[in-house]
């Protein structure tokens, strides 16, 4: 409990650091909201026209004044207004987040459901032909870029079978679960494939490690069945690296999966941030990066807490 409080207490400090970083970084990139809106036509503006647009976009003040206003707003729960959407930043983020979360969860389910059994299977058939097969597939999975796999799936389904989930208008889970699932299953497979490959490789090597430990040999010599050795004795101890990996991957996925969202035209967080950067929608970029950082911190904390559950010997926060 003490540990949890101490960890939570560091959150504001980390977020403050992130806020400064993102605020400065996005302003250091050449180009601003005006060039993003007008492109090269921005060169036709007179200085007075430019000033008036700068005031409209809120970029007429010195950067520290802008930062102060922004941080002050956040302390009051106001993340600013997105100039692209004309709505509060937090509303726009929270509207996009459920899709991103759902996609991340689905991908993780696919990755764990495929990757862990495959890894365990490979470990128990170590150096046999079937192990080699699993390892080759995993290697392919890890090295295939998601845009290749995504386009391949779309092309094969549409050209070969005339099938494709409805694109363009996305149905939220609570409105139309079937349509929602039909739209998310392919992106989840695309993302889950590489994720599953990593899980396979890490669970295979973790399992191999554990299987050579003394206590497993002891269990075997006491006559425990092969099934019980693997599932009851070895697996819980092999899970720690899998949890670590999954936590990190899941954290990344919560930041949005830009390429997969582009290909399948999904309105997720990743594409939103990319568009916001391209359109120099400063408030939206800043707000969403903070949001993503916060998610990552929560996931990290949950992973650390999961260690305790998996291995009672681990005591968090003690030297």
């Amino acid at each position: 409990m003490n540990y949890l409080m101490r960890r939570l207490a560091t959150f504001p400090l980390v977020l403050l650091g992130v806020s400064i970083l993102v605020f400065v970084a996005i302003r250091m990139v050449p180009g601003d909201s005006i060039t993003a809106m007008l492109g090269t036509e921005a060169g036709l503006l007179t200085p007075a026209q430019r000033d008036s647009l700068a005031a409209y976009f809120g970029i007429d003040q010195p950067w520290f004044v802008q930062y102060w206003r922004w941080i002050g707003g956040i302390l009051h729960g106001n993340f600013g207004i997105s100039v692209t959407y004309g709505r509060p930043v937090l509303d726009v983020i929270l509207e996009r987040f459920p899709l991103t979360l759902e996609l991340a969860v689905l991908s993780m389910i696919i990755a764990l459901a495929v990757g862990m059994p495959a890894g365990i299977f490979a470990a128990t058939h170590n150096e046999k032909l079937s192990d080699l097969g699993v390892r080759i597939v995993a290697m392919i999975g890890q090295s295939t870029p998601s845009f290749v796999l995504g386009l391949l799936i779309i092309y094969t389904l549409s050209a070969g079978f005339g099938l494709l989930p409805a694109m363009g208008e996305f149905a939220p889970l609570w409105q139309d679960p079937l349509r929602n699932l039909s739209q998310l299953i392919l992106p989840a497979i695309t993302l889950g494939f590489a994720f599953a490959a990593s899980v396979t490789r890490i669970s295979r090597s973790a399992m191999l490690d554990v299987l050579s430990d003394d206590y497993v040999r002891t269990a075997r010599s006491k006559g425990a069945s092969a099934r019980s050795v693997i599932w009851r004795h070895a697996l819980p101890n092999a899970l720690i690296p899998v949890v670590t990996l999954s936590g990190i991957e899941f954290g990344y996925l919560l930041g949005g999966a830009v390429i997969v969202e582009q290909i399948y035209a999904l309105p997720g967080l990743g594409r939103m941030v990319l568009d916001a950067i391209q359109q120099r929608d400063y408030a939206l970029v800043q707000g969403s990066v903070l949001f993503i950082a916060f998610n990552f911190m929560i996931i990290n904390l949950l992973v650390d807490l999961a260690y305790v559950g998996l291995d009672p010997r681990i005591r968090l926060g003690e030297p």
């Binding site: 036709l44 008036s52 692209t84 495929v114 989930p165 309105p267």
Partner: protein, 507 residues
């Protein structure tokens, strides 16, 4: 374990795919045109937006006083007729008495006056303000008549008024400050819903003065990947799409149910040299670069030959045969000789900038030019940048050379005065001042006789190609893809989708 899971997964995919198909078949009946594009509109203020997609969307909602047709001739829009006074200093419009805004209020001369005053007001930040600086005052003798008094004869102003950046917006909305937050025009479609970076829903404007529209509405989806747009068209989810990438567009004719529309556009691909930087300050060096570049090869390699080689004038009525222009036939020997004469027999090094994906062919163009210029000893370093970063450098004139796709206009004065007149707003980008070009532009601006104008601009083009501040390469096509049961779309060189107002869906 694995076998069981795979079976479950496969049945899941099949189910998902069937659901997807079911979703498609329900869309077929309504007379709604399902459209897709890969870049979304970025805003709703017709006076401030310049992004291609924004203009295409706003042209369906708002109307200017006049339009240009597929052959770039001026035709009526809100105005039914117009006339220049004898001295060319007054331009009178008669408005269509049936013209109405989408909330039912009549569109009158007061709205026209307020719209142009808004464009001219520096506080607005209107993109097209520079085109209308000759307007000295605006008179509205009655509700259907507008007279623009000009400080000097200005022939191109009529074409400039055909641009959606000169759209007529309601005077009341200007006063309320709501232009840009809601879209209320007099055009064929009403904007019912705009979900930025995702979707636009348009419905037919029953009160449109231009008559009934062919469809009840248009739903525009943003599908960022053009290969996915093609896939969605294969499965009939999408009726009509805008395509940018020639690599994707050339795949369309291979699909039996789809049709590709392509039309040469006014925008031009160009290698901009910076004549204020050494050694591009030397005429002979610039000319050598022009002679060393094989424009047709750039077009063939970067754009699969989709387009045609062009000189500075891309407007069909004014364009001349580019093979007659300076060094449009590649001549490496001449190029080497020119380099030697300029004192650069051993060549030099320079950097060329380009915007990633804008146009999609930018990197390929830079690479082929790099290899062509290597033959005369010019070592090019290619620097690709994110679009905004590129625009920033471009506007500051901060480059040795730049690969650009610059927009065209239906009138050569409006298209080029920004670069090649002494008072041009983008003089800093072109970095090249030339008395001859300036005086040709001024003459072309005042001249109203078409044959005389053509002669003036032909001279202008010839001189520009010879001075080679920029190396004009080619114009490409604007592509739209459609299901074959869509009838009535007319592609035009300006890229406008206005003719979607008369498009019908055949059963």
């Amino acid at each position: 374990m694995i076998g069981h899971f795979t079976r479950k997964l496969l049945s899941g995919i099949t189910l998902a795919a069937m659901l997807g198909l079911a979703a498609v078949s329900t869309q077929a009946n309504a007379a709604t045109l399902h459209m897709a594009w890969s870049q979304d509109a970025t805003g709703l203020d017709p006076h401030k937006q310049t992004a291609f997609s924004s203009l295409r969307l706003l042209e369906l909602i708002y109307e200017p006083l006049v339009r240009v047709d597929a052959s770039l001739q001026i035709i009526p829009a809100i105005a039914t007729s117009w006339e220049f006074s004898k001295d060319g200093k007054a331009l009178t419009f008669k408005l269509n008495p049936k013209a109405k805004f989408q909330d039912g209020t009549a569109l009158t001369s007061a709205d026209v006056k307020a719209s142009f005053e808004r464009i001219l007001d520096e506080k607005t930040g209107a993109a097209a303000r520079a085109n209308f600086l000759s307007i000295a005052s605006i008179d509205t003798p009655d509700a259907a008549t507008v007279i623009f008094h000009l400080s000097q004869p200005d022939a191109p102003i009529l074409t400039a008024m055909s641009d959606i950046n000169a759209a007529i917006v309601p005077a009341g909305e200007i006063k309320a400050g709501s232009i840009g937050t809601k879209a209320l025009g007099s055009g064929p479609f009403k904007l019912d819903k705009w979900d930025p970076n995702a979707k636009e829903v348009l419905s037919a404007n029953k009160d449109w003065a231009g008559g009934a529209t062919g469809v009840d509405g248009i739903e525009i989806s943003l599908l960022p990947d053009e290969a996915a747009i093609l896939a969605a068209m294969r499965t009939k989810q999408i009726d009509f799409a805008l395509l940018n990438d020639p690599l994707v567009a050339t795949l369309v004719p291979k699909e039996a149910s789809l049709q590709l529309n392509r039309v040469p556009v006014l925008a031009y691909h160009v290698l901009q040299l910076n004549p204020s930087r050494k050694p591009m300050t030397e005429l002979k060096v610039r000319q050598a670069i022009s002679c060393a570049i094989d424009r047709q090869e750039v077009l063939d390699t970067a754009s699969l030959g989709e387009g045609k080689v062009t000189g500075p004038l891309t407007i069909p009525a004014l364009a001349t045969d580019p093979s007659q222009l300076f060094c449009y036939k590649r001549d490496v020997d001449k190029a080497k000789k020119l380099m030697a004469e300029a004192g650069y027999a051993d060549g030099f090094s320079a950097t060329v900038i380009g915007a990633t994906g804008e146009p999609p062919t930018a990197a390929a163009e830079a690479q082929i030019i790099q290899s062509q210029l290597a033959e005369i000893g010019v070592k090019l370093d290619i620097k690709m940048m994110e679009l905004n970063v590129y625009v920033d450098a471009w506007l500051k004139g901060d480059f040795d050379m730049a690969i650009a796709l610059n927009g065209g206009r239906a009138d050569p004065y409006t298209m080029y005065n920004r670069y090649w007149t002494k008072a041009g707003n983008l003089q800093k980008v072109a970095n090249y001042i030339d008395d001859a070009l300036d005086s040709q532009m001024q003459k072309g601006r005042a001249e109203t006789d078409p044959a005389e104008r053509k002669a003036i601009f032909t001279e202008f083009e010839k001189h520009l190609a010879e001075m080679s501040p920029w190396i004009w390469l080619y114009t490409s096509y604007s592509y739209t893809a459609q299901q074959k049961n869509i009838a009535g779309f007319v592609p035009t060189p300006t890229g406008t989708l206005f003719s979607l107002s008369k498009v019908t869906i055949q059963q």
